[in-house]
């Protein structure tokens, strides 16, 4: 083992972290702001990949434009879902978990009916099919793209939540719904927007994962458990998810470097369970009142 390889592993860990983070970002917002456990998040990611595929295949849209377009499309789906189902379940957190699992079944099978169960091909510009070499370290340019998009999304979410009027409203609703209502904040609208935003971010993740891996109706299922763990470990806050993803991404890369991938996963699952035993509220707990 030499230092260069370890450094490479660390850089890769950053990339893995960004993948986990972008997968978990939308979930964080939805969970953090509205307290909804959205089991259909993986399917939102899948929808993002399929919308990019559709836009590219039928309309010939360039890949980089597909990313924001997927944000809009999946955001709209999230909006419709929130209006049609989720809003009736806000005070029943376990039921939202179950209902959204039903939604995930429907979305997965629906996509399968429309597009078939064979994998689809999502093309990215040729320039992304290369790698950037920095002497001893090297990383694929597409991973850099993911890293950048993720950073951009996190920054955007941060600005939105901490620098705008909407953000103030969201945080007010998070703290105390009744109190916020008395200040004239329409909490129903806030929930609706955050849900749509979270879904849209999943769409972005999907259009990235479609290029990195594969476009399949079942592709979302593999992300959802991991994404949840990031959110729960982080305590449901933006900063928490960023840190949780960063640490687990690096850990996974390092464990995989020294042992193998499967074992790395096992260790991470167990570490998270142990961690939450001692800090059930997660890394950075929400300030919102629990009772």
């Amino acid at each position: 083992m030499d230092l260069g390889s370890l450094l490479n592993a660390l850089i890769l860990g950053l990339s893995i972290a960004s993948i986990w983070l972008i997968a978990a970002l939308g979930l964080t917002i939805i969970y953090g702001a509205a307290g909804v456990i959205n089991m259909a998040h993986g399917e939102f990611i899948m929808l993002g990949a399929y919308s990019s595929y559709m836009l590219q295949y039928y309309l010939g849209l360039p890949y980089l434009l597909c990313i924001p377009a997927s944000f809009v499309i999946v955001g709209a789906v999230g909006l419709a879902l929130e209006r049609g189902l989720i809003r009736y379940l806000y005070n029943r957190p376990l039921d939202t978990l179950l209902a959204t699992y039903g939604v995930s079944l429907v979305l997965m099978q629906g996509v399968r009916l429309i597009f078939g169960s064979d994998p689809k091909y999502l093309a990215a510009p040729e320039i992304f099919s290369s790698n950037i070499s920095l002497g001893f370290a090297s990383i694929s340019s597409f991973r850099v793209v993911i890293l950048l998009v993720t950073a951009l999304c996190v920054l955007g979410v941060w600005l939105l939540f901490y620098k705008t009027r909407f953000g103030v409203q969201v945080r007010a609703v998070m703290q105390n719904k009744e109190m916020a209502a008395s200040f004239g904040i329409n909490s129903s609208r806030v929930y609706m927007m955050t849900f749509a935003l979270g879904a849209g971010l999943a769409g972005v993740a999907g259009s990235l994962f479609g290029v990195l891996a594969i476009v399949l109706p079942t592709m979302g299922a593999s992300y959802v458990v991991q994404a949840f763990l990031m959110v729960v470990t982080g305590g449901g806050s933006l900063a928490g998810t960023v840190v949780a993803s960063g640490v687990t991404g690096e850990l996974q890369s390092i464990f995989a470097f020294f042992t193998n991938d499967t074992f790395a996963r096992f260790v991470i699952f167990v570490l998270i369970v142990v961690f939450l035993r001692f800090r059930p509220q997660g890394l950075f707990a929400q300030a919102g009142a629990r009772r």
């Binding site: 376990l94 039921d95 039903g102 429907v106 949840f228 763990l229 729960v232």
Partner: protein, 367 residues
């Protein structure tokens, strides 16, 4: 509120009728396949029962029931596998293929059928007691606990898949012959196997039902309602939660053993996240607040999957998912609550309040 639905005696009568109905089925059914299939449904019923007990009565949503179920199933498969090993051939073939020339230590006890069967139940039960104890003491509850069980399930799934020399990896374990008990071979297609499963199901149901009617059951229902408040009444909430989670896990472990007895096969798929979620779906659709309702939910969904599934090939999951959403949205207490309301309408004059007890259910048997 003289709702017959809440009448304890009526509940016991319906339970008795339901199981008597199931018990006589082999006398008119000579179809081996149907018998084996019904026995398998019985296993699913057991799982739904365990979820109903834990979630419906304890308020603990467990998305990782596959852990107890899977560990039980692996224990049984190991026991059955060792039954077919002989002096001259002491090691399961899949281990030879993975360059093991000695039986791993944790396989040794399974050479003895009795020890193997005991371990099949004891190990998952102990796991639940420890995991539950640790989690509930840390006051992990509600959705957080659900996610934790999901993480634990994924961890087990991953490690069983990875430790191929000891577990058979993704191919699992296929014991070549049926379970031998006391010199008899239990043919998985015989009425004997059916009755064994039924006997375990009846026992589990009676135990679960008695638990819900005991003081313990009342406290768990109180915890489901408001755990925080119950602490101030002097009950150790963690203790109660751990206990009901563990009992529910033990039932799931029995179900795992029964399944392997019936299908002679185990694989990591028993610990698949999707399977554990379907257990929750059965209980939710049938009615998590009713043990019998949850069981009927399992029969209903699995029956529909077997018999309607092929007719609606492509749309089956769509129908299931949609149905599930509708139930969660409009009937949070499942189909059993329909019956509850129906009987509530029938009820005329309030009876003596003594007749009312817990909110258990009494749906009609599926047949």
């Amino acid at each position: 509120m003289g709702n017959l639905y809440h009448n304890k005696t009526a509940q016991w009568l319906v339970y008795t009728a339901f199981f008597l109905g199931l018990a006589v089925i082999p006398s008119f059914v000579s179809d081996d396949f149907l018998l084996n299939q019904l026995a398998t449904y019985g296993v699913y019923g057991m799982l739904a029962l365990s979820i109903s007990l834990c979630w419906g009565f304890g308020g603990i949503l467990n998305l990782g029931q596959g852990i107890a179920f899977g560990l039980g199933a692996y224990g049984m498969a190991m026991t059955m596998q060792m039954q077919s090993q002989t002096e001259s051939n002491p090691i399961p073939p899949f281990m030879l293929n993975n360059s093991l020339d000695q039986l791993p230590w944790f396989w040794e006890p399974f050479s003895n059928t009795a020890a193997g069967l005991i371990l099949s139940i004891a190990v998952p039960t102990l796991f639940c007691a420890i995991f539950g104890g640790v989690m509930f003491r840390a006051r992990v509850s509600g959705p957080f606990f659900a996610i934790m069980t999901l993480a634990m399930l994924s961890a087990f799934y991953t490690i069983i898949l990875d430790r191929q020399p000891y577990t058979g990896g993704v191919n699992g374990i296929t014991p070549p012959s049926p379970l031998q008990l006391g010199g008899f071979e239990i043919d998985p297609y015989s009425s004997t196997a059916y009755w064994i499963v039924l006997a375990i199901l009846v026992t589990a149901t009676v135990v679960a039902k008695l638990i819900t009617q005991s003081s313990f059951g009342l406290v768990t229902q109180a915890i489901r309602d408001d755990a925080e408040r119950v602490r101030f009444l002097g009950y150790s909430v963690a203790g109660y939660e751990t206990a009901i989670y563990t009992i529910s896990g033990a039932i799931a472990a029995f179900a795992g053993c029964c399944l392997v007895m019936l299908v002679q096969y185990v694989s990591p798929a028993q610990l698949d996240v999707g399977f554990s979620l379907s257990m929750v779906i059965w209980a939710a659709i049938g009615g998590r607040l009713s043990l019998l309702g949850a069981m009927c939910g399992a029969f209903l969904i699995q029956g529909a999957q077997s018999y309607l599934g092929d007719a609606f090939l492509a749309t089956w999951l769509l129908i299931l998912g949609g149905f599930f959403i509708v139930v969660v949205r409009f009937l949070p207490n499942g189909l059993a609550s329909l019956l509850e309301s129906a009987l509530g309408l029938l009820a005329t004059k309030p009876k003596t309040p003594a007749a009312e007890t817990n909110g258990d259910a009494k749906p009609l048997p599926a047949e």
